[in-house]
Symmetry: C4
Subunit: 373 residues, 4 copies
C-alpha cells in the first residue's frame, strides 16, 4: 500500500504513473486556472470554531441522500473515461464505492457502460446525464439508467460549451485509438479525436423547458449539477428538482467562476430545505467536508482525488482515498464536538468566516524596491 | 502560425523579436508599475456567477458603438509609433481590425498618417487626439480626421505630463533616426530624441473650457479617454461628451492610480446610460470583457496585446489576437448563459465581488522567523 | 550562553540538538498546519496605537493570577514528555519558572511525576489534567496534585481525539524504550509505542456533566483549556469555572480552527470579568503579550519556545526564554505608555485591527502570465 | 552623478559605501521590522483617483510651514550621527536643504553641533529635542537652539525606551572611537559604546506636565514628533502644541505600531486645522507625498533616503534626493490635476482606499499541497 498519508499526496503517486498529457487532462482547469485553485483555497480560508465538552465517544458519519442510507456524506463525482487511468476504470471505482458505502455518480462519458458498472458492484449509484442534441438518444440513455437500477439522474447544466483547456491544447492531446465511451457504444479509431465527435456533444440549447421534458420521461429523481447562483437553485426546486450540486465543473469550464465554497452558503439559504444541496470542487480534507455541511450541504462530491487513487493503485487506491476521507471526517467531527451529522451547523464557522467574504487582492502593491521580509 | 494559445503568450513571442529597449517602452509603466500590474490583477479578482439553462446554441457578439454595428464589444486602443514594432505599423493593424469587424482607434502619434491608415483598410475608425498647445495645429488635425472619415474623436485627458518611465530612463531610450510621426509630418533625425520635440507635446493647460472649443470646431462625436473619477464622467456627459473611456493610460502616467476595473462600476452608475462607457487596461481574457460589460461598459479597448501580435506576426498576429479574444468571449458568454451582449448584466458578478473592494495589503505581516508553508 | 536574540532564534538552536523526528513532534501541527501558522501570524497582523507622554520610568510587570502574585502575565504551557528534550525535563522547567516568578502548568503526560517536579522548585504551579476513562484514576491524579500543592487544575477540553499529526506519521515516530510518563507510573518498553497506550487516552465522553463531577471531588479552582467559542466560555463560567484558556492546542488538534488571537476578543467580551481569561498559541514577542492583554487576557501561556529553550540549554535556556519575553514586554509597555499591567486596554489596538477581521484570501488570483513585481 | 533614477535606488549605492553594521544601523527597525516594512507598503496600497481637465501648465509646489515659505511640502527628518555616513554629516545636509528650499530638522544626536550646522548654510531649520533627565541640560540645549536661530522645537515623544534593534545586537555594533555628539560636547573614546552613555538618554518620565514646563522656557513653537493616536494629537493641540508629526520613529521603536499612513487620516480629522500635521515613515515617491497631503498632512519628513543620498554622494546626493522627490511631486500634482498644494484634498483618494483599511492577513491559508500558480 502506498505511503500517502492524505488525499493530496496521492496526486504525486498518480502523476508518476500517468503520461504527462493524461495527467494534465485530469489535473487541468480552464484558462488561467483561477477557479481551479480557488476551489481548494476557499475551503482552507474558512475558520472553524469547534465545540467542546460533548460526548464524542461514538461518532456516527451515516446520513441519507435522497432517502437512501449511506456510510458518510461523500459521493464520488462523475469523471469520464476512467479506463485511461486504470484498465478497470469505473468498475474499480464501483467496487471501492460499495466497500465504502458511498454513492458513485457515473459519467455519461464513462469508459465502461452503465450496465457493466452496475454489474461490477452493488451499492447505490447515480447516473450523470449529458443532454444530447438528439432527444431520442437522451431518452434511450435515461431508460437504460433506470433499467440498470441507477437511483437518480444528475443532469450537468454548466457545460454548454467546452472550457478553454489550454493544457490540452499545448499538449495536442489525442486519446489512444481504442479509447471507449461505453455508454455511447463508441470505440475511437486510430485517427479519431474522441472529443471531436460532435454527435456526443451536450446540447447547447438545453434550457428550463428541456428540464420539464426530461422530468416527463423518467420516474427517477432529478439532480442538477453546476448551479452557483442562489436564485437559480430556487428556480430549479420550484420546477421539481430534488437536489442541486453547487459546482463549477471542477474549475474546467468558466474561469474565475466563484469558488463553490463561496457560493454554497447563499444557495443553501435560498433553498432552505426544500431540496438537498451538494457541493463539489476542491474537497481534500475531512475539515472541508465538515465545512460544507456546516454551510448547508447534505453531502460533498469528490472527483480528482478518486482519479489519483485509481491511477495510483486501482480499486485499492480509491478505497484508500475514501478511507482517509472517512477517518479525517470522523476525527474532525469528534474535535468539533459533533458526534452525529445532524449536529453539524453554521455555528461551527468562526464569526466573520462565512465563506462569501470579499475578494482578496493579489499583492500588486509590492514595489520592486520594497523589501518583503 | 504561432503556437500561442492565449493573449499573454504573444508577449513572449514579441519579446523575442524586439530590442530590449523597445520591448520595455511598450511593456513598461510608470514608477513602481503598481497600476500597470493592478490593471490586470483587478480583473482576475472579480468572481463570476454564471447563469445556466439558457439556450446558448447561437451566441451573438455583435453590438453597436455610438450607433455603429461592430462584430464584438472590443476596440483597438491607440498606441503610438507602431512601425517600431513592424514595418506595416498601423496599416497592418487597420487590416486586422477590418477583418475582425472592430473599431481601430488611431493614435495622434501613429507612424503612418491618418490618411495612410484610412487608405489601408475600410472599417470603422476613431481618431485619438492629443490637444496641442498650438490650437491651429489641433484644429488642422481634427479637420483631417473628419475628412478621412474617422467616426469619432477620442481626446486623451490623462496625460498633461509624461509619466515616470523609469525603464526608458535606465535604457537611455533613443528611437532610431527615421522614426516617423506620420500625422505630424515629422521624421526624426539622427541626433533627435523624438520624445523631446516639444511642439508635439500635449497642452498641459487643457481644461473643461478647451473641451467646449473642441466641440465647436467639429461635428464628430467626442469621447474622453482617461477618466477615473465618477463625478468627472458625469461632468463630461453634462458637457455633451458622447463616450468616456475609463482609463489610466495603461498604467503609464500616474502610478497607484486606481485600476480601471475598480473605477468602472462607479462611473457607469453615475453616467447611468446618458453616454457610452468604455474601459481599457489589463484586458487579457474573454472573461475580462464579460466582466467589463457586466460592470457597465459598452466595450473594451485592447492595447498591448495588439502590439504583441503586431510585433510577433504583423497583421496576422493582430488578427490572431482578435480571433482569440472573440472566441474566448463567445465561450464565456455561452458558459455564463448570455447568448447576446444585451443579456450581460451586473447579475453575473458574484455577490461581494463588485470590483471596488477595499485595497489589499501586501503581506508585510510576514515575519522573518515565521514559516510560510 | 547562546547567541539567540529572540524567542524564534531558539528554535534553530533546538533543532540542531534534536533528532528530526523529535523536533517534528514538537514543532508540528495537525493536517496542513494552517492553524499552527495562523496562531503566530494573527498576532503579527494586529496593529498597535501606542500612547505617549506617560511617565514610564518604572514599569511594573507584576500581576495576579487567580489571586496569586506573579512576576509577569506569562505562564509556561503544559507540554508532555519533556525529558525527550533534555534529561532534566520538567524539573529544569520548574526551576526556570521559579527563577522568573511565573506559573508552570505541568502536563499529565510529563516525564517526571508531579511530585518530582514539585520537589524540584518552589513557586506556583498548576496541574494540567487529562480526564481519563477510568474515573478512579482521574480522581487519584487530582488528589495527588492537591497533596503536592498544585494551585489549580487546568482541564484540557479540546483533545477528545488525536489530531492528524502527519509529520509523525511520515516519520513513523517511535519514542525510545524507557520513555517515562511519570504521573502514570509508566516506562515504555522496547516495542511499545507510548502513544498507543489506550488506558492513558483522554476520555472522549467528557462532557459538561463530567465537569460537575470533577468540581465535586476537588477544592482546587478549575480552569478549562481549549475554548474558542465565546458562548461556551460563558457556559463554563456559569458552571463555576474560574479561568478559561483560549486555545486550539497549539494547532495540533483541529486544523483550520480559528487562531486564538482572533477568538480571544469575543471570549473576553462574553465572560466580561466573571472569570479570568488566558490565551496560548503563537506568542513569540513581548508585543504579542501586550496585544493579548489589550484584547482581554489576564495572562498568556507559552509552550514551544520553552521547549526550544529546554532543548538548547536546559534550565538556562528556559530562563533565557522567560528573560527575553520579560524584557520585550517591559520595553513594549514603556513604548506603549503603559507602565502597569492594569493600564493595558483595548485602546492600544489601532482602530480597525481588533483581531477578528475577515479572513484573507490566498492570492489565487495570481495568473500564470501576470507579472508579480 | 549617480545613475539612480529614484529614491530607492540610492539605498543600493549607499550600501556599497557603508560598512554592513553602519548600513544595518540606518536601515534597520525594531524586532521583526513589521512596522518598518508597513510604513512603506501602506503608502503603496492607497489608490489615487486623479482629476483631469485642469490647467496644470504651471504647477506650484510652494507652501508654508508654521508660517514660513518653503519650496515644497517636504522636510528633512532628524537622524543622528550623520558623520558616520559622510565626513560633512549634517553640514552637507544643511547645504542641500538650503539649495532645495526645505526645512532641515536637526537631531539632538547630530555629529555636528547645532551652531556648526547653522553656520554651514542659511535656510529654515528646526531643532529636534530629546528631553533629558537633567532639566538644566535640556534647558541649555533649548536656549542654544533659540540663539542659533532654529525656528521650532520638535520634541520626540515616542522613544522613552530603546527599541529592539536586533540587527545591531547581532552585529555587536560599536561606533568608532572619535564618534562625535556635537550638541552634547561628547567625543567617544576607544572603549566607549556611545549608545550606553546614560546621561544622554531621553527621560522616560517625560509626560504631559513636562510639556508645560518646556513651553514655559521657550518662545519657540513646539511640535510633537511620534503621535499615532488621534485623541492624543487632540490633547497636544489643547496644550498649545503648534504641530504634530505622525510618526512611529521610522519603525525603530514599537514593532507592529500602526503604519503612519494608516494613522494619519484620523489624526488630521481630530485636529481639524487647529495645528499643522506632518507625517514621516516610508515616504519614497512623489505620489506618497501627494497621498499624505490628501489625507491631511501639511508636509512630510523624509529620513532614510537623505541618509542614502548623503552616504552615496555627500551634499550632492542629498540634493539629488530632494530634486527627485520635487520632480516626482510636480509630475504627480500635474497628473492628479492639482497645480497648487492647496488643491490637494481627500477627493484624490479612490473611494474605499482611505488608508485605515482592515488589516490584511498573510496568506497562511496556503496549503503545502495546493498549487499557487
Amino acid at each position: 500500500m502506498s505511503s500517502a498519508v492524505n488525499l493530496r499526496e496521492f496526486e504525486a503517486l498518480a502523476r508518476e504513473r500517468l503520461s504527462p498529457s493524461i495527467y494534465d487532462w485530469c489535473a487541468g482547469g480552464t484558462a488561467d486556472e483561477i477557479t481551479l485553485r480557488e476551489n481548494e483555497a476557499a475551503w482552507s480560508r474558512i475558520r472553524l470554531c469547534p465545540r467542546v465538552l460533548v460526548d464524542v465517544s461514538a461518532c456516527n458519519l451515516g446520513t441519507t441522500i435522497l432517502g437512501r442510507s449511506v456510510a458518510m456524506p461523500v459521493m464520488i463525482a462523475p469523471c469520464g473515461k476512467n479506463a485511461l487511468l486504470h484498465p478497470e476504470g469505473e468498475r474499480a471505482v464501483a467496487r471501492a464505492a460499495e466497500a465504502a458505502g458511498v454513492i458513485q455518480v457515473l459519467s455519461t462519458a464513462s469508459s465502461f457502460s452503465l450496465e457493466e458498472v452496475a454489474a461490477a458492484a452493488a451499492g447505490p449509484r447515480w447516473f450523470q446525464l449529458y443532454f444530447f442534441r438528439d432527444r431520442a438518444a437522451t431518452r434511450a440513455l435515461v431508460e437504460r439508467a433506470e433499467a440498470a437500477g441507477y437511483a437518480a439522474l444528475c443532469l450537468t447544466v454548466d457545460a454548454p460549451s467546452d472550457g478553454l483547456r489550454e493544457r490540452d491544447t499545448r499538449n495536442r492531446l489525442r486519446f489512444p485509438a481504442g479509447t471507449r465511451l461505453g455508454n455511447l457504444g463508441h470505440v475511437a479509431g486510430a485517427d479519431e479525436h474522441i472529443s471531436e465527435l460532435s454527435r456526443f456533444d451536450p446540447d447547447p440549447s438545453l434550457d428550463w423547458a428541456s428540464l420539464d421534458w426530461l422530468r416527463g420521461i423518467t420516474r427517477l429523481p432529478l439532480v442538477l449539477k453546476g448551479i452557483l447562483a442562489a436564485e437559480e437553485a430556487g428556480l430549479a426546486v420550484d420546477r421539481g428538482v430534488k437536489g442541486v450540486v453547487v459546482s463549477n465543473h471542477g474549475g474546467r469550464e468558466l474561469d474565475t467562476a466563484v469558488a463553490t465554497c463561496e457560493a454554497l452558503g447563499r444557495v443553501a439559504e435560498t433553498v432552505s430545505g426544500r431540496a438537498e444541496i451538494y457541493v463539489d470542487g476542491g474537497i481534500r480534507r475531512g475539515t472541508d467536508v465538515l465545512k460544507a455541511l456546516a454551510l448547508g450541504a447534505r453531502a460533498v462530491l469528490v472527483g480528482r482525488p478518486c482519479l489519483w487513487g485509481l491511477a495510483a493503485e486501482g480499486e485499492a487506491g480509491v478505497r484508500r482515498i475514501l478511507e482517509l476521507l472517512c477517518e479525517e471526517l470522523r476525527v474532525s467531527m469528534a474535535l468539533a464536538g459533533c458526534p452525529r451529522i445532524g449536529e453539524i451547523s453554521r455555528r461551527l464557522i468562526a464569526p466573520g468566516f462565512a465563506g462569501w467574504a470579499l475578494p482578496q487582492s493579489k499583492p500588486a502593491a509590492q514595489v520592486a524596491g520594497v523589501p518583503n521580509g
